[in-house]
């Protein structure tokens, strides 16, 4: 299926409009991915226990009726900032000894239009993409429809992206 894709070109394509590009030059066996499964499980537990995935908490946030969500996002950002600062300052490497690289983000108008659209959807569903997965896990099976619709939304964006203002 893969006919020798030019690695550089593939990376550029994956980087397209994505905050999350991840290029490890090392080849790993597939089961190395289980570490991400474990991190995901811990993350999902935090999501549920802090009620981040609750539709009600999101409604409070957007009505300025509770500090809870602002406290979580704010303290998460501060923790992340300090972590990245320390990683850069001490040149911390990955567990495989690779230097840590984070792709910078360039501005395009999609970040305004897309973010406004996402904000509308966030207040309706009470979930951004991560919580959708956790909500289904808590037994709200109907949210699988919301997730499928979100996948469809992503697909339609991919289909129309050349025609959208960026």
């Amino acid at each position: 299926m893969q006919q020798n894709i030019n690695t550089e070109k593939d990376l550029q394509l994956r980087e397209l409009d994505a905050m999350c590009v991840n290029e490890s030059r090392l080849e790993h066996k597939w089961y190395h991915n289980f570490k991400y499964l474990v991190i995901g499980i811990l993350f999902g537990i935090v999501f549920v226990k802090s009620e981040v995935i609750s539709w009600f908490r999101i409604q409070e946030m957007f009505r300025l009726q509770s500090f809870h969500m602002y406290g979580i996002i704010g303290s998460a950002v501060i923790t992340g900032m300090i972590s990245i600062f320390l990683i850069k300052k001490f040149n911390i490497k990955t567990i495989y000894g690779e230097p840590i690289k984070i792709a910078p983000k360039t501005f395009n108008k999609g970040q305004i239009y897309g973010s406004l659209i996402f904000g509308l959807g966030w207040a309706m569903t009470g979930a951004c993409p991560g919580p959708l997965f956790a909500q289904i896990g808590t037994g709200a099976t109907v949210v699988a429809v919301t997730l499928l619709s979100a996948i469809a939304g992503t697909w339609v964006y991919g289909l129309r992206r050349e025609k959208l203002p960026h």
């Binding site: 991190i39 207040a123 991919g158």
Partner: protein, 187 residues
């Protein structure tokens, strides 16, 4: 200990734990924290349909699918082992407003009164679940990230585009929750 864990966790416990995901993913494999990309990888793996945006080697990003599957499992584990037996406590003002729309069930994290299989076949449910989901998927990809990729990872790395995106997420949410959602919920 278990009783302690079963209570809802405070923001100052949960926030730093969420933030620690950023260095953890970087250190275990040079991965930038981001969740909405998983939706793109699902498109690329299941129905690329010759669309250039989905023609890339998604297998290199398969870690992201393991990660979101973990979030799903984490949700299931938390609800079965660490579930809080009490209803969710919300601001009384919100409870009063929602009662006006017939939302009174606080036993789940999701309002069972409006988000359930029966209401999926009503106009209100269709708009909230299918319409809302579509806006989440379309908007996050158009924006190049969601709350995790922009608000947490992007701001942590001091990226100006992520600050702009985060502000716009909030503006969109404020508009929907205060100006449009009341009409939808009144249906």
């Amino acid at each position: 200990m278990l009783e302690f864990l079963k209570q809802p966790w405070a923001w100052y416990v949960a926030g730093p734990l969420v933030g620690l995901t950023v260095p953890l993913l970087l250190i275990v494999g040079n991965k930038s924290f981001g969740i909405s990309s998983s939706l793109r990888h699902i498109c690329a793996s299941c129905m690329p349909a010759n669309i250039p945006f989905f023609k890339y080697d998604w297998k290199k990003e398969v870690w992201n699918l393991f990660f979101v599957f973990g979030i799903f499992l984490g949700g299931a584990i938390a609800i079965s082992l660490l579930s809080n037996p009490n209803p969710i406590e919300v601001n009384p003002k919100l409870a009063t407003e929602l009662a006006g729309y017939g939302i009174t069930d606080y036993s789940n994290l999701i309002p069972e009164d409006i988000i359930n299989w029966q209401s999926l076949f009503t106009l209100k449910g269709l708009i909230l679940m299918v319409g809302g989901g579509f806006l989440v998927g379309f908007g996050t990809r158009y924006a190049g990230g969601c709350t995790s990729g922009h608000a947490i990872m992007g701001l942590s790395n001091l990226q100006l585009p992520s600050l702009i995106a985060t502000i716009c997420f909030l503006i969109g949410g404020f508009i929907m929750a205060n100006l449009i959602l009341p009409t939808i919920l009144s249906m």
